[in-house]
Symmetry: C2
Subunit: 399 residues, 2 copies
């Protein structure tokens, strides 16, 4: 399981309380990775004594993080014990998403399973941010109520947005496709601490937390095109937190003007608006990608040509990215994952043609299995990961 | 001072010997950063006791790393003491460089000062690697002999090459402009442990170690164009160690064929060969960049146009890099630093036009003060940094 960022000051001599918190995380991590498992197995896996594990498990059970399932289904003779598992109730994470054409919310439990969710198609382009957030809050309320009826208790919320985010300041710096700029979000939503993160980053983290590669360029596209860079299992944010602006990598420097003020950016060839224009389609704002996939599946030549052009442009921009940052894998995520059948051939061709100095294999490019669910799931999992990585942190178990 | 990479296992409980080694590094680091300083000041700066500092200094002096200069020139009353300084003799680092048109070697002392150096112009394109390395060894021999006459004792050597390197395996994976491929280097040279590193990486590290920015795209160009990425003061190597292949980022996807097998790579617009062709110059292989600078300084229109085109292409490719990795600074290093007057205007124009989504200022692009000396200096400093970071490591003080 990948580790979280640790502050340098955590490397100093551990206090007794700090050590107990670390050991709580160790045991909870073992349960998360291997449940069901007995206390004896948890001791073997973590290297802690049986007595220490038992004492830590008492605390984890008290906080509603771990439950006892009854005797472990073990083939090993002489090692009886009640199997431990992550609690299917108790602390949970709330994920929220504002897209250009949708709003979504979901609650996941400690094992990362989605236990309640809602998604509505809505055009957020012309609406004030306050109205968008009010509608999102209403959607979240229903999802949280449903989760609570199942015994879950959301303890944190994270919002996925298609734009540049200053997560330390809880601010959307710029989300051009939503028309948001320097939008500071409230510190809480429905009484839960609220964080914000770029949707591509969250999609990439969702893949990672489900066992994906550690060094990845994760493309997330819908109205805009963003990328998340994972390096050794960590988000690479850049000096100012703005890394991954794939949509404005120049593809044809003398190409069409872009809304950003430049020319020939990737978005002018592979962004949703460009693809729809090239395909000659005028679709309602909600869920244009799904509609585009239907037209492509129907074999409409102009749609196929538009997607071929988009795939080629994506491949060209990604070839530059691969030459620069040398990832182990490139993943096509977000809503565009649904267009993979038509985008991948051009992407693969360009990558093969342009990544020549070092080995590159077709298999290094894949489509995200989570697709458009990735960012929302990643948002909900942020809270779960925080709990798993520091279950003793006092702030995590309220309210 | 930036830290080095530490192995995870160094985070475990420190043994007494391990702690002593850490404290040796602490004291030596204080001397390196603030010399001349007294033992009392070293104690104040490091947080160690005066007695501990004195004991550590005995060891550092015994190993020839620190010397006593006599009473510290301190204005502070009541704090006499003999000032400590890095030894101007003793352990030293040997840097080596194989370029397409040159060979070079230098020795630096503990303070990073170049104490002996040699550089010869020679066309390495058509020669077997063994002959190149033999001539380099001869050059190094002279430089080492000169350094020894000054009381220096080189303890490690690092070779800078313009190509992809697997430094763990001491192998040049591919240096197309030299015609080297999968070339495994000997483990020692002149009896010194020999390492190898990409020249752009070493140029970037040299800048960093002289106080440069921590998050940088450092361009290094001569026959080929490479880049080093520094992230938080560390080299970013990519999943397989091949990051920074700026020369093969596509600039005009339908442009001229590149030796790599692709089309329209940056090297086809800004590489030395492309610039010379566009300038209509046929120069001898040795030091074409200096000659190009002379022609440009003379105001030859075709040369100026060729450099303008190269600067524009560099700016386009770097705009993509900035949008992807969001560095705090871009530095033009290597031999191309000498062409800065003619390359920077186009680079600045393209960066300003294409980095639009987040703030970008002209000053974020600068020319390396070290220029073509950067890689060689960085190579020599690798050994010095190792000594400063772990002066108690047994391997560092032989032979």
């Amino acid at each position: 399981m990948p580790s979280v960022d640790r502050h340098p000051d955590e490397r100093g001599p551990a206090s007794q309380q700090g050590m107990r918190r670390q050991n709580l995380a160790l045991v909870l991590g073992a349960v998360a990775a291997r449940a069901p498992l007995s206390r004896a197995d948890a001791a073997a896996v973590t290297g802690l004594t049986r007595a220490a594990v038992s004492s830590l498990v008492v605390e984890l059970m008290r906080d509603g993080l771990v439950v006892e399932l009854g005797p472990a289904p073990s083939g090993r003779v002489g090692r009886p014990g009640n199997a431990l598992s992550l609690s299917p109730t108790g602390p949970a994470g709330l994920g929220l998403e504002v897209g250009v054409g949708q709003l979504a919310a979901c609650v996941v439990d400690l094992s990362g399973e989605v236990r309640a969710q809602a998604r509505i198609a809505v055009d957020n382009r012309e609406r004030p941010a306050a109205a968008v957030l009010a509608e999102l809050t209403g959607l979240a309320e229903g999802v949280v109520a449903e989760a609570r009826r199942s015994g879950l208790r959301p303890v944190g919320a994270t919002l996925a947005v298609p734009g540049l985010v200053d997560d330390g300041a809880n601010t959307v710096v710029r989300a051009p496709n939503l028309g948001w700029s320097e939008l500071r979000l409230p510190g809480t939503l429905l009484g839960l601490p609220l964080g914000v993160q770029n949707e591509a980053n969250l999609g990439a983290l969702a893949e990672l937390w489900r066992g994906g590669a550690l060094d990845v360029v994760h493309v997330s596209a819908e109205a805009g095109i963003g990328a998340a860079l994972l390096v050794g299992g960590r988000l690479f944010r850049g000096a100012r937190g703005f890394a991954g602006e794939l949509g404005h990598v120049p593809v044809h420097p003398d190409g069409p003007a872009c809304a950003c003020g430049s020319h020939g950016c990737l978005e002018q060839y592979a962004g949703e608006r460009a693809v729809l224009a090239a395909a000659g389609l005028d679709l309602p704002p909600a869920d244009r990608i799904a509609a585009l996939a239907r037209h492509a599946a129907a074999g409409e030549p102009r749609v196929l040509a538009a997607l071929e052009q988009a795939g080629t442009a994506l491949g060209t921009a990604l070839a530059g990215a691969v030459n620069l940052v040398d990832p182990a894998a490139v993943v096509l995520g977000g809503a565009y994952a649904e267009l993979g059948d038509w985008l991948l051939p051009g992407m693969r061709r360009e990558l093969a043609a342009r990544v020549r100095v070092r080995p590159w294999s077709d298999e290094a490019l894949s489509v995200s299995a989570l697709g458009r669910r990735g960012p929302l799931l990643g948002a909900a999992l942020v809270t779960i990961r925080r709990i798993l990585e520091d279950p003793g942190a006092p702030a995590l178990l309220g309210p």
